[in-house]
């Protein structure tokens, strides 16, 4: 980007900022002596994993720390004026007008009972004395500017009538409405599908160039930062690890933590971690999963033709390999795996798992079948019973099948927990006392304790930080080669898919648009959609440079 000469006043200058949260026992410092600056029109990325203090830092800049948070010391200078100790009343004049916010989750960031138009118009009502017809005209032109079709209709609609990407466009419209000098974008795309994510980031870029607004991009995704930022600030445990020009940091990271992040980020690391290790697949075709002409229709409540969630889907998975099912929300991937594990009955088609026709199974047969196929869910917080301890969680599946005495069950559970790398002392803990990565290890142990042959991993690493994600992927890898497991890996993250899968099916609107081995699909995509997905993987700049 442009080199800015020294005398220019930065839009924002943070110096020795320390922030603490009050909790039951006293104060706990979450941000330690953080200093950085943002020049006019510049994009600075604040990169870190959960607990790094990146969101706390961003919140403090706009005076929106949680009730128990407090700026201990340091200064936040907006155009040279220190606003760190301003009252709410003073900050109200700055918020929205000079600094604005693009929030993380577009789903819950708009008031569900107010129209889009009134929520966008509100910022003019707060800061300007425009008449209501003038406000309405501004609202419509802004909605058009952020790329929403039929602005007049959108203005009358409620948030739930818009898709996630459209809602994020509305929130961006709110953020740019008064042409602020700085936009704080707090994980603006992490809740969106990859292709939508790319379009939203492109839009922010475009508006920045047009209005000359500086952007503070808060993200956990180094790939996103690499593509979009002029400078990167890396945070860990509330401390800056290093900061500098994007190119310099990616090419020659100085801190060990940045190096680690770079090697863990799937979008940067060299392709397949598996292919080299895995022995060539046996010549005799041994398909553990055969899906043939699968279709599932849902009756619409409002009437009309039934909704085809999955339409004529066929694929096969060889024993001992990993097959990825890739698609964005609404692509039918969840419906597909629900049919495969026997939670849902397909409208048409055949599913054979290890020689058994799943769609014909009922009652006891279905229950016995579940031993062979186990699920690991996306959310390690929601899928574990908060009232059970780790050992109880892992022994429970065994209690559903005869032939295990109490001591057998415990012994088996202990062995598998040790195998997934959980320390002995964690066995008596409840889920809330475990980290996200540990919880996912427990979920994996629970799936493996019945010695299944097929493990369905439903976005099983998507909610984890990159470094934790990398460790879990390593673990899955080891378990597969040791136990001869077959994985069905459902994901929206193509970077991860490329790393760990042997074969891929790409779904769009319930149909298979691409399929085959990973190298076939990634190097020679047959459909435009797959190409678009691959192009949307963040971190391309760096890969291109490398």
């Amino acid at each position: 980007m442009t080199v800015i000469p020294a005398p220019i006043t930065p839009v924002l200058e943070v110096e020795d900022l320390s922030i603490a949260y009050r909790d039951g026992s006293g104060e706990r410092r979450a941000v330690h002596d953080v200093s950085f600056r943002i020049d006019p029109g510049e994009v600075v990325a604040l990169v870190g994993e959960s607990g790094s203090g990146k969101t706390t830092t961003a919140q403090s800049l706009i005076g929106l720390l949680a009730q128990n948070g407090r700026v201990e010391r340091g200064s936040i200078r907006l155009n040279g004026t220190d606003i760190a100790r301003w009252t709410d009343r003073q900050l109200d004049t700055v918020r929205g007008a000079r600094i604005s916010l693009v929030p993380q989750d577009p789903g819950s960031s708009l008031n569900p009972v107010k129209t889009i138009g009134s929520q966008l118009g509100e910022i003019f009502r707060i800061h300007t004395k425009l008449r209501s017809d003038e406000i309405e005209a501004r609202v419509l032109s802004l909605l058009a500017r952020v790329g929403l079709s039929e602005p007049a209709l959108r203005a009358r609609q409620y948030p739930h009538e818009l898709s996630g990407g459209m809602r994020q466009r509305v929130l961006i419209a709110i953020a740019i409405a008064l042409k602020p000098q700085l936009i704080i974008a707090d994980e603006p795309t992490s809740a969106l599908d990859v292709t939508v994510q790319k379009r939203i980031l492109d839009l922010i870029d475009e508006l920045r160039a047009e209005y000359g607004t500086a952007v503070l991009l808060v993200t956990h995704d180094l790939g996103v930062a690499a593509d979009r930022a002029d400078r990167i600030v890396v945070l860990k445990d509330g401390r800056i690890q290093e900061q500098g020009a994007t190119g310099a940091i990616l090419a020659a990271p100085r801190s060990p933590y940045t190096k680690q992040l770079l090697s863990d980020a799937p979008s940067f690391s060299a392709p397949p971690r598996l292919a080299a290790v895995r022995p060539p697949v046996a010549h005799v075709p041994d398909d553990i999963v055969v899906v043939d002409g699968l279709a599932r229709e849902f009756v619409r409540e409002a009437g009309g033709p039934p909704l085809r969630a999955v339409d004529d889907l066929s694929f096969r998975v060889r024993r001992g390999t990993t097959h990825a099912i890739v698609g964005e929300s609404g692509s039918g991937k969840t419906t597909t795996i629900r049919s495969i594990v026997g939670f849902d009955r397909p409208t048409a088609g055949r599913i054979e798992i290890d020689g058994t026709d799943v769609s014909r199974l009922t009652g006891e047969g279905l229950r016995q079948f579940r031993r062979k196929v186990q699920l690991v869910y996306q959310n390690p917080y929601g899928s574990l019973d908060p009232r059970q301890n780790v050992l109880q969680i892992v022994t429970e599946p065994l209690a559903n099948f005869p032939g295990f005495s109490r001591s057998d069950r415990e012994e088996k559970a202990r062995a598998i927990l040790a195998r997934v790398g959980l320390p002995e002392e964690a066995l008596g803990r409840r889920p809330h006392a475990l980290s996200g990565g540990q919880r996912q290890r427990v979920a994996i142990a629970r799936a493996l304790v019945l010695d299944p042959q097929l493990v369905v991993l439903d976005e099983a690493v998507s909610a984890l930080d990159v470094s934790v994600q990398a460790r879990i992927l390593d673990l899955l890898d080891e378990l597969q080669s040791e136990l001869g497991l077959t994985y069905l890996f459902v994901s929206h993250d193509l970077a991860v898919v490329r790393q760990i899968s042997d074969t891929v099916s790409v779904l769009k609107d319930g149909r298979l648009v691409d399929g085959g081995t990973v190298s076939e699909v990634f190097e020679n995509p047959r459909s435009d959609y797959t190409r678009e997905l691959i192009n949307a993987i963040p971190g391309r700049k760096r890969r291109a440079a490398a």
Partner: protein, 314 residues
């Protein structure tokens, strides 16, 4: 939508029928009856023969099933039977007593809603933690006060000590002041509690942060973003609290000597006037059902998310 409405109306009718049947069975199961209580009094000097004739004229000796069928038939036709004690049709008794209770209940509920809203919003705006804590403990205090005790205390304080409200011959509105306050206090408590919790919960939602980031003041956010979202779940509680309101009205009317349904109920229980009690139970159930039906139908009006299916497809 029409399917939904039909379904809800059918449910409402079922509740009415169940209320009627259960109260009928319970009232039948009671030993003794109103006729014995009224006419067996030795002062009247009636012979056993005469009492039996009176009983026959009220048809209380026919089988339970026949009585049930006859009573339900009459109820459906709008005939609630005769009060044995007062010797007049139950319908005219109700007509005479209902207005006072309606006035009391409506005003009591209104005051409760105002009290609850005031407590909830003030506590959310309170600038100091101690004030917030104090305001938030008001509901727990309110809910633990027994209605009869509060009524007596209010009379003591406002009528006898401060002489603000006359006890003898008060005006038609003056006489309502203390009963309405007595009734409102225990009902406002759960409303306020739910409202406080909802406000706290809504305040943590991301759209509130977005509104604050627009530069909106706390008051603006509370009024324009939080209020409606927090009130929605409270509506259900309000419907359920109606039962509380009826129970409260009985005690309140007794304490303040008001001539309403509460007083009527109390006397009917004393004299085992089954016909009157039966009518009061069905009437209360009807009011309950109507209120809850209204709440259900009101939801889609207040929450746009619930009307997508019926609205035009965008």
């Amino acid at each position: 939508m029409s399917g939904y409405l039909l379904n809800r109306v059918a449910q409402a009718l079922f509740v009415l029928w169940a209320a009627f049947t259960i109260s009928f069975v319970l009232l039948q199961a009671m030993p003794g009856d109103a006729i014995l209580i009224k006419f067996q009094n030795p002062d009247l000097g009636l012979t056993a023969q005469q009492v039996a004739e009176i009983r026959a004229s009220y048809a209380v000796d026919s089988s339970v099933l026949v009585q049930y069928a006859r009573t339900i038939g009459k109820f459906v036709a709008g005939d609630f039977g005769y009060s044995v004690q007062a010797g007049v049709p139950v319908a005219s008794l109700l007509a005479a007593h209902l207005p006072a209770t309606l006035k009391l209940a409506a005003l009591g509920f209104l005051l409760a809603a105002v009290l609850a809203t005031a407590i909830a919003f003030l506590s959310s705006l309170a600038p100091f933690a101690w004030l917030r804590g104090a305001l938030q403990s008001v509901p727990s205090l309110f809910i633990s006060i027994p209605t009869f005790w509060l009524g007596i205390m209010l009379i003591q304080l406002f009528s006898f000590r401060l002489k603000l409200v006359p006890v003898i011959n008060p005006g038609p509105w003056q006489e309502l002041i203390l009963p309405v306050a007595t009734l409102a206090v225990p009902i406002s408590a759960p409303l306020a509690q739910v409202l406080v919790r909802n406000i706290d919960e809504v305040l943590t939602r991301p759209f509130v942060a977005v509104a604050r980031a627009k530069g909106a003041t706390r008051l603006w956010v509370l009024w324009r973003h939080v209020a409606k979202n927090a009130l929605l779940p409270t509506l259900t509680i309000a419907g359920v609290l109606f039962g509380e309101l009826i129970a409260g009205a009985v005690v309140t009317e007794t304490v303040f000597g008001l001539n309403g349904i509460g007083g009527l109920t109390e006397r009917a229980v004393g004299s085992q006037d089954t016909a009157v009690l039966q009518a009061i139970v069905v009437l209360s159930a009807l009011a309950f059902v109507i209120i809850n039906l209204t709440v259900d139908l009101l939801y889609p009006v207040l929450d746009p998310r619930l009307r997508t299916k019926t609205g035009a497809v965008a």
